[in-house]
């Protein structure tokens, strides 16, 4: 073989090795959740079960910070339990996520009970039970008809909210949503694209509150505070568990006095057949890792991502470690 051909082969093989090597590296999830050894006496620690290795799970989530953190928590918890886990986070709105679940693209994702009831099953906001246990039972019954199951809910609940800059709220003299009557036609509202079709969002504000807005502009959920800051939006659809609300007094949410924006705890949605395949650790792990998610904790995790700009995966890992589920 000529020396030139040798050089070709050398360069090509180096490239090939680099590519394969990096593929191996890149796909090798930093698996620090693999406990197995029993040197920790805490009952909370997730034990890796070798039976779960053959089960492939894909955890999805919707497209905003809280969802992504939840998805990571569930995914990392399940991995610690020994499952082979992939993620497909940031899917999109609830309809996209549900479609992905039904198609089998994902094994499960976290959903708010209020969203499931109002968006999937056309419940009116006043029919969403305020009691978490009642709401959970109700949504379980609806989901069963679709072959889906919801695992028991998280301690915290979240809801949509109409928010604005505190300075603007004072200027307008509004503290609840119905105060906007007579004023809303001069105010611009910004929200997610799917807000236009949800009863616990624009549709409810239009119909149940009878409010008309100057305009509704759909924007990416990640921009909901940005548009207030930049003065583009008079009103923006926020979430009650948002970190930004707790961090300063800059933003205010209006009280939902007519109960159009119900709160919902988070339930992990999955298919019955996935549960049958995955075994008892599936539900047990999900219930375990979410049991520490009070409103205060969820807000803290949201803050770490949205305000401190930490990586959601790292934030989830820290939460699992601090709670003693992984080490």
């Amino acid at each position: 073989m000529s020396s030139t051909k040798l050089k070709y082969l050398l360069v090509l093989s180096i490239c090939a090795m680099l590519a394969f090597g990096l593929a191996a590296c890149g796909s090798d999830d930093s698996d620090d959740g693999d406990s197995g050894s029993g040197n920790s006496s805490s009952a909370e620690l997730i034990q890796s079960n070798p039976d779960n290795e053959s089960v492939d799970l894909t955890i999805g989530s919707k497209n905003f910070t809280e969802q992504i953190v939840l998805g990571e928590i569930y995914a990392q918890g399940l991995e610690a339990a020994g499952y082979s886990v992939d993620t497909d986070l940031n899917l999109g709105s609830e309809t996209i996520a549900l479609a992905a679940l039904k198609k089998g693209e994902i094994s499960g994702y976290p959903e708010y009970v209020s969203t499931a009831l109002t968006s999937f099953y056309d419940a009116a906001p006043e029919d969403v039970p305020a009691d978490a246990q009642e709401a959970f039972t109700k949504v379980q019954a609806d989901l069963k008809k679709d072959g889906l199951v919801a695992f028991p809910p998280t301690p915290f609940a979240s809801a949509n909210a109409v928010g604005l800059l505190t300075s603007k709220a004072e200027e307008l003299g509004v503290t609840k949503i119905s105060d906007l009557e007579g004023k809303s036609q001069d105010l611009t509202l910004y929200g997610s694209p799917e807000c236009r079709q949800r009863i616990d969002c624009l549709v409810g504000l239009n119909e149940n509150y009878g409010l008309e807005f100057k305009s509704f502009t759909p924007v990416d959920i990640g921009l909901r505070y940005e548009v207030l800051d930049k003065g583009q939006a008079d009103l923006s659809i926020l979430f009650t568990t948002d970190a930004q609300l707790g961090a300063s007094d800059k933003y205010t949410i209006l009280e939902d006095d007519k109960g159009v924006l119900p709160a919902g705890n988070v339930v992990f949605l999955t298919e019955q057949k996935t549960i049958d395949e995955a075994g008892p650790d599936y539900q047990a792990t999900i219930e375990k890792v979410q049991s520490g998610l009070t409103e205060k904790v969820m807000q803290e995790l949201d803050a770490r991502v949205d305000i401190d700009k930490e990586d959601p995966a790292a934030v989830a890992a820290d939460y699992l470690k601090a709670s003693g589920y992984t080490e």
């Binding site: 051909k5 940031n90 205060k296 305000i307």
Partner: protein, 241 residues
Amino acid sequence: MNELLLPIAEVSGDFFKDRSGGGCIQDNKLFCPGWVADNYDRYVDPTLQHLVLVLSSVAAGFLIAFALAILAHRHRWLSSPFLAGTGILYTIPSISFFFLLLPITGRGQLTAIIALTAFTLQIIFRNITTGLRNVPPNVTEAARGVGLTSQQMLWRVELPLALPEIVAGLRIATVSTVALATLAVFANGGGLGAEIIVGSNITFKTGIIVAGGIAVIMAILFDGLILLAGKLLTPWERAAL
């Protein structure tokens, strides 16, 4: 607000941070070096994924374009259709391509790699073809005179002489692919794009600059590496100086 349904496991009190101090990150200033120093490891995985996307696409693109170019070299009439075909693939925006592939290959790294590969084909194909065509006819005549077969001539004479052009094509393809691979996030293919648009990253100036900066640096490094490899593979060009 709602009933607690499960036994609670508590995180300790110092889990909660005090954010009253404000600071560079909270003000979302254009670039916060302190944050970068503390948080650079969140970019390691995306960068590795990005590397895999780029190397796989360029390698696959090169192999395919090379095969096409050799075929077109033997059968000249093939060059036009191949050029047109790869040209269409080049023209279609990558993000469009991801979603055209969606019904067939679904979401994931493979879809992203296929789309990125398709983009590199025309660049590399065109450069290999041009390089081969620019080999002076007196050289090929001399080679034939010495008794080389077509096969031998291709590998020992024409390709080596076409190397500078091929290397140039590889450089362009690789740099373009590094920039384009940021879009792989739309197909759930990973890469640095996730650090630019997912969740609250979309407003995070420092994060966007870091992610974009890594991509640019990666492009420059690859450009230099390929240039160097090209120089090593063509010692005769240097000797001629």
